[in-house]
Amino acid sequence: MKKQVALSAIGKDQPGIVAALSKVFFENQCNLEDSSMTRLKGDFAVLLLISLPENRTPEDLRRAVEPVAQKWGLVFSMRELSPEEMELEASGTLPYTLVVYGVDHPGIVYRLARAAADEKINITDLRTHVTTGAQAPLYSLVMEVEVPGARVAEAFGEKLEALKKELKVEVSFKAAEAEEL
């Protein structure tokens, strides 16, 4: 039976982290299925979905990762996925992208995320940046979401118009189109 684990790790950025981690997976015949790794200021963060071979348990992998994480100063956690979770695929939802930017102030993410959650809109990816502007720090945010249906998208669009004025930000909310180039 297929076994999958989700692993997250974070630690001070330095050259060699990805090589050290992927070496462990390679030596244990694990397959790196999905990954997202990025540096935020001085920290490097890793999110991985790994499938294990028949002859390895999640516990084997944990034991193999532990000394590497320790050596590289990474805090990590691991969780095995249930068979249902492995089958999980988004169905019947519409992908949308929300872009918001404006002068930085507390509460932007919260208000947007709250509004999304209230409409049962699922956030699948979120990136934010604060950059030092000439006059004021600029906050920019790009959020990818799954919307339960077209009517919800419309309602959320209206909510965003109100939030745009209240938060004094620019907002664009569009259906994510498949790029055919």
Binding site: T97, V99, Y101, G102, V103, D125, L126, R127, H129, T131, T132, G133, A134, Q135, A136, L138, S140, V142, M143, E144, E170, S172, K174, A176, E177, E179, L181
Partner: protein
């Protein structure tokens, strides 16, 4: 003629739609001269739109021959009331903007456009532009409608912080 400060977001003028110039309006030529002077003062800058220097008028300058990467070009373009008539061959490319000094974004633009505009002497032009020159023109014309490049981002992987100074700025 003057080198003017380039407005940085959140300056409200950047989100406003600029009205068309009346044919023969001397404000057009003045705007073009200021844009040219200001662009020259920013190495790596390949285009500017009048609202970026605080002038709400439909005037842009583009000169992709200033780009560090050589590309096909018509030299210095000084355009009044530009209007895109046709846009084809869409492609995603990375852009910067002097009004957002710290950000870069992947934006989908047409690689071939047909443009109607007036030159600095108010002569009618109808020209076809391709490649980076077409992209730069679309970026600047967007400014005239208060559309900024961040408004055109389509995915969370399309926004980047500028980690080192200077690639082509528009």
């Amino acid at each position: 003629m003057a080198v003017l400060p380039v407005l940085v977001y959140p300056h409200p003028l950047l989100k406003q739609k600029a009205p068309s110039l009346s044919p023969g309006d001397p404000q057009g030529l003045r705007a073009l001269e200021d844009l040219e002077d200001t662009m020259s003062a920013h190495p790596g800058c390949v285009g500017l739109a009048a609202p970026q220097v605080g002038c709400l008028a439909r005037a842009v300058v583009v000169d992709v021959s200033r780009s560090v990467r050589p590309c096909e070009n018509h030299g210095r373009l000084k355009l009044l009331n530009p209007d895109v008539l046709e846009a084809t061959q869409w492609k995603i490319g990375r852009e910067g903007c002097l009004s957002f000094p710290d950000l870069l974004a992947n934006v989908k633009r047409a690689q071939r456009i047909r443009l109607k505009a007036f030159n600095e002497w108010w002569e009618k032009m109808d020209l076809v532009f391709t490649g980076f020159e077409a992209v730069a023109l679309q970026h600047e014309i967007d400014h005239l409608d208060g559309i900024l490049f961040l408004d055109r981002i389509r995915s969370s992987k399309d926004l980047f912080e500028r980690r080192k100074p200077q690639s082509a700025a528009l």
